[in-house]
Symmetry: C2
Amino acid sequence: MATTDRLERLIADECGSCCDGDVDDRVAELEAVRDRASLERTPTDAAVFDALSTETRLDIVRLLVAADGELCVCELEPLVDVSDSAVSHALSTLTDAGLVERRKEGRWRYYRPTDRAAALLAAADPGLDGAGTVSGGVAE
Amino acid sequence: MATTDRLERLIADECGSCCDGDVDDRVAELEAVRDRASLERTPTDAAVFDALSTETRLDIVRLLVAADGELCVCELEPLVDVSDSAVSHALSTLTDAGLVERRKEGRWRYYRPTDRAAALLAAADPGLDGAGTVSGGVAE
DNA sequence: CGCTCATATGAACAGTTGTTCATGCGTTGG
DNA sequence: CCAACGCATGAACAACTGTTCATATGAGCG
């Protein structure tokens, strides 16, 4: 890690150069933060959020959650203004991300959202947003 | 909505052509679903998920959550393998999405995650994922 | 079996985006 | 003031991606 220049000046500025070996301590602390952050990584990584990052896919998930059951492609297609092929592509991406599940019945495929999808929408939508530090208990 | 062809066949297949005017009913029902889904839209829309859809920005948010306080750019930059400019760009995007907040102090800017950011990470990370219907418990 | 249907999948193109480099802006120290 | 610093921002380029068209797959039906 060669870019500790600014970090040293930051620490010196924060505690008024009172202590000298604090740089190493702070670096170690930051590396511990990095380790902790890495542990929270799921195998899906950013793919989960990426799957919800376009209006088409997000609309589909919202529709599936709003519908109190399951919908098939031919029901979704009239509700979003893209081709059925695009809907299918979107559903594949969402399935890979673990946000929807598929049920086959005859010629049709019924899709429904997973708990994770609903949890993500709930976490993003409500007005609990805005200000506030986070630390402490994110537990649930 | 001109693409109700398949929808008609679906309904006929589901209830065995028992009823005829059901197509309009089902279409109306689907439009109600669409209206309900639209109501849940926040002004931020898909931008929130989009902000978390890249490894760099997601890593930054994870680091801010893992750190039990606030971090500045010079502390984040050694922890992610991109330039300080990229970190700044990422933080701007995250700020616009309402996922981090900025505090100015002298030459430095300290960043901390919002509640929404923490809630989103919590909703995506835990092992509560996988199988399960979402609303109300639609047994099957 | 050959047909159609519902959906999945591959290719290709346009639009988007994440990165770095260069530079601008407010702040601090000499 | 002037220089240096921390960070923000604009431009530019490569890389990615969402869409549609074309085609494949598997299921029902005559």
